[in-house]
Assembly symmetry: C2
Homo-oligomer: 385 residues x 2
């Protein structure tokens, strides 16, 4: 699912080096002029209006400590009349803790990350936590900067789809709980919620091998990427289990740039001796395969069998439907949030959760050589046509 372009080393500097205004002190440009700050009601205002002291007003409002029913009544009324909204900054300052968690994701435009965010969001909202979201474009420096920002807000925890170990290290050093999602860079050091990349990829590959395919191209973004690594491993396992050598040019890295991906995929499919089956390692690559094979007039599954890691809505809407393993993206976010909450409640040994990705066989895969003979299973909604 990565959509990022770098994975730079875990520089993890606490503050940016050298003399530049430095990240430590975000070079506050100029105190942003508050247009006409209409003096918001403060606790003192409420207290005064209710004819009590600030401390009593505070107790009345928070419901902690003793307050005479009558006084409480007046306080609540006063607050309502004034449109009083307590200042979270002041509260957090006092409490040395903010009821918020940082959520650092690589790319909200990618369905996968958006769903992870949605899953985390719903759990955290239910528990009364606010989310500070940063779409860090999958860039390492951006992600570290984002981490620093949420650290500055004194968030209670951090969720991240990491791009390097830098974020986790930085956050850990500040004693703030963190859960890595989807990718893992500090195994054993901090919590993580991942999918079972190996098994999913193995099943997909076995499926193709079982259909007689031998020229199976696995297309990943970058071979060094952690999710890719797992998928490549599964791919290898399947070959090994079948007692066969992994083809030399079996794994291809197509990069992260959309245009480049299209080009590479087009090139691959146009070779003199093209693969008979393609395995796209994620939804972005899968889309490129689908478009390019169409452009080249390749019929699926007749001319080319096609499987993908990470089920996307379109894969069940096109015809034939695409055979995939589905990543439980929403659940991934939700589980990560729950794990974070429990870690915030009490420290403990880091735990890694791995979620299953069910195989979904559709019509995009067929036995090699036998033309126009889709395999068992559903075909995508339009197969009727």
């Amino acid at each position: 699912m990565p959509q990022s372009r770098q994975r730079a080393d875990a520089a993890a500097l606490e503050v940016a080096p050298s003399a530049v205004p430095s990240a430590t002190a975000p070079a506050v440009p100029t105190p942003p002029v508050i247009p006409d700050a209409p003096a918001r009601a403060t606790l003192a205002d409420v207290a005064q209006r209710a004819g009590v002291s600030r401390s009593t007003a505070s107790r009345g409002l928070t419901g902690r400590g003793y307050v005479a029913p009558a006084a409480r009544e007046r306080i609540l009324l006063a607050a309502e009349e004034l449109g009083y909204v307590p200042d979270g900054n002041a509260r957090s300052l006092k409490a040395r803790h903010t009821p918020a968690v940082g959520l650092l994701v690589s790319d909200l435009r990618n369905r996968f990350y958006a769903e992870v965010a949605a899953g985390a969001s719903s759990v955290l909202r239910d528990e009364g936590y606010t989310i500070v979201l940063v779409d860090d474009t999958g860039s390492d420096p951006e992600e570290v900067a984002a981490a620093r920002t949420v650290l500055a807000m004194r968030v209670a925890g951090v969720l991240v789809t990491p791009v390097s170990a830098a974020v986790s290290q930085l956050v850990a050093r500040h004693g703030v709980p963190l859960v890595e999602i989807d990718r893992q860079f500090c195994r054993g050091e901090c919590d993580a919620v991942l999918v079972d990349n190996v098994t999913g990829a193995r099943e997909l590959t076995e499926h193709l091998l079982g259909l007689g395919h031998r020229r199976i191209a696995l297309l990943v973004n970058e071979t060094g990427w952690t999710t890719s690594a797992g998928r490549i491993k599964g791919y290898h396992q399947a070959w090994a289990a079948a007692g066969r050598e992994v083809p030399a040019d079996g794994v291809e890295a197509v990069g992260f740039d959309p245009d480049q991906i299209e080009d590479k995929v087009g090139e691959l499919l146009s070779r003199r001796r093209p693969p008979t089956a393609v395995f796209a390692a994620n939804n972005v690559v899968a889309e490129a395969v689908w478009r390019q094979s169409a452009r080249l007039g390749l019929r699926i599954p007749d001319d080319l069998s096609f499987v993908a890691f990470d089920d996307s809505p379109w894969m069940s809407m096109v015809s034939p439907g695409i055979t995939t393993v589905a990543q439980p993206s929403v659940e991934l976010g939700a589980r990560a949030a729950r794990l974070l909450l429990s870690r915030m409640a009490k420290p403990g040994r880091p735990r890694t959760t791995r979620l299953d990705c069910p195989l979904i066989v559709r019509g995009s895969t067929a036995r090699l050589g036998r033309r126009r003979t889709p395999v068992k299973g559903s075909e995508g909604v339009r197969s009727a046509r």
Copy 2:
């Protein structure tokens, strides 16, 4: 694009009524025990280590005010060694202003909202603003609660895909700039960035009328919804321009519940005298139409012409491709963010921006009666088949 289930009245209470712990004072359950808060470095620590006073340290770090180069050097070094990250809460408290904006959206799982968020995010990040995100599930009470939360954080502004006028009123009363996105509830009262629903819907309808269709069903979630209203209006305009009566049962409300939508759509298409063309008012409804027509064995465009408001990736991947108008969702978020920034910089008369939705003709629409004769234009990537 709405995905929500309510639009309740603009209750907009400042605080929740009655005696309940009340929203004003979020019934702080119990001061969340900070596990083992490892005393984070504070400005005083940095100052001490650098052998200067706190104010000097502050100046050195922020780069405001005079500081001897040598001292500055020591301060920066000390900060780095201590892993000092300034406390945003304290800063905000002092500054009476937080460099963050609240982003309240209805449903991150819906591609449309996720892209709006992505667009806004990128602009705001570039300007140094953090995003406090709330996925409010399109519920009015949730949205108001979310607004209160971000207000409490003293955000500098708010972006919202509103579900009622409540949020805007609440936020406005606190003198915080707000921009409504996609839907508009306080026309003339606050800024908004919308799409041109009327024109897009008119073009789509005209396209169908031009192909000879007369039984054209427009499927919306709820007729009372503001985006639906615009689309319905455009639909009406097209009929009027053609000098024809709008069919009595032309507009159907299918609700927000996914299952219910499927049912209603299935029922519609199974009628004895079904429409010859369907106009889905958004991507969610469109998906239901696509699936149901497949289930019923209807051929598109032979048996049924099909258009949709809001282009989704799958619409250009299926065959035939779906004729749509594309909402510039990312741009919507970006423009809203820019408008908010300018409003934060200086107040002014509320402005409403309306973005165009280009018509994209693909293969899902054909002349009535003439079978298997797709219209001009592209056909979706798989048409080659």
